[in-house]
């Protein structure tokens, strides 16, 4: 789920930038440092929308660098266990399939795919029902439920299921409205 939050960060700046464009330099550095990163607590920082405030700088003893506490508004993406969301299938194999929801990768094991869907190998590996009416293959859109979230260094990885009610391939004819 996407959230709009206010986060804080201590930014260090080299004295060469102490001039009329100090705040601009801090903003650019903040955006470069923070956008695209991921933390276990807040998830992925997708975009910084506004720098709310830049506090008074504190000179660090010994190095001359100055630390500024910066408060900024940003859009983050944080998946939660128990959350239901839509994703795009990226890879299908006999163990299950991988799907992507924004920056996050989700794996759905074949144990958590309905029993009436069988894996079909071939040029385009897929999971299909016995009557062929429902098919999951690369680029299919699926609705899944996250049942586990793991944070790994700078990435979040999820495990999902499509075995519950109202989950599975999205067959919405007016989804492209």
């Amino acid at each position: 789920m996407f959230f709009h939050m206010v986060l804080e960060r201590n930014m260090q700046l080299h004295p060469r930038y102490f001039g009329p464009h100090l705040h601009e330099k801090l903003t650019t550095k903040l955006v470069k440092d923070v956008e695209g990163t991921c933390s276990g607590k807040h998830g992925f920082v997708v975009a910084v929308t506004k720098v709310e405030s830049i506090g008074k700088g504190l000179i660090r003893e010994g190095t001359g660098f100055v630390t500024f506490p910066v408060k900024y508004q940003c859009v983050v993406f944080r998946p939660f266990r128990g959350e239901i969301l839509e994703a795009v299938v990226t890879l299908v194999n006999k163990m299950g399939f991988f799907a992507e929801a924004g920056p996050v990768n989700i794996f759905v094991s074949n144990h958590l795919i309905p029993d009436d869907m069988e894996f079909q190998s071939g040029d385009i590996p897929n999971y299909t029902t016995s009557d062929g009416s429902v098919k999951i293959q690369k680029d299919s859109e699926v609705r899944l439920k996250i049942i586990g979230v793991r944070v790994d260094a700078a990435e979040i990885f999820c495990i999902g299921t499509i075995k519950d009610d109202f989950l599975g391939v999205i067959n919405d004819p007016d989804a492209t409205a």
């Binding site: 695209g36 969301l85 519950d164």
Partner: protein, 155 residues
């Protein structure tokens, strides 16, 4: 960490910070990221080199899974959903998934039943029908005078 073991969006256990934060539907994120991309385009010739992979993937995702395309419609959707006593997270899941029946809505957001957000199932049904009306008007791209739309929705 025990806090992570207890985390469960189906019971709205997502942590104090996220419960209080502003939640965004995919269509709203789409508008924000579009604006940001435009700003980058104005500033440099190659905006893609300025954006992270996370930004690009998120932009593609929200564009693909936005049910509502223009900003007026997005505002109307949030307005309709906000009329009920829902938590931000519940509101956004409903706005993103657009359940068609009361049963589906309860399956997507169990807390609307377990936390008694609505008086009865009819109230849930009314909200879903209002959402469906907005989606259909959006799909046929017909411009509806705001007061006319309002009179349809307050019935």
């Amino acid at each position: 960490m025990s806090a992570e073991e207890e985390e469960n969006a189906a019971e709205l256990k997502i942590g104090e910070e996220f419960l209080k934060a502003k939640c965004l539907m995919n269509c709203e994120v789409s508008l924000i990221l579009d604006k940001k991309y435009e700003q980058l385009q104005n500033m440099s010739d190659d905006p893609l080199s300025q954006t992270s992979q996370v930004f690009e993937k998120s932009l593609q995702y929200v564009k693909r899974f936005s049910r509502y395309k223009n900003s007026e419609t997005v505002k109307q959707v949030r307005e309709v959903l906000s009329r009920n006593r829902l938590a931000e997270f519940e509101l956004c899941v409903l706005g993103n998934l657009c359940p068609e029946t009361v049963e589906e809505a309860i399956a997507m957001v169990p807390t609307i039943k377990s936390k008694g957000r609505f008086q009865d199932d009819d109230a849930i049904d009314k909200m879903l029908r209002d959402l469906s009306l907005i989606k259909n008007l959006n799909r046929y791209s017909c411009w509806v005078h705001p007061t006319f739309l309002w009179s349809l929705l307050i019935q």
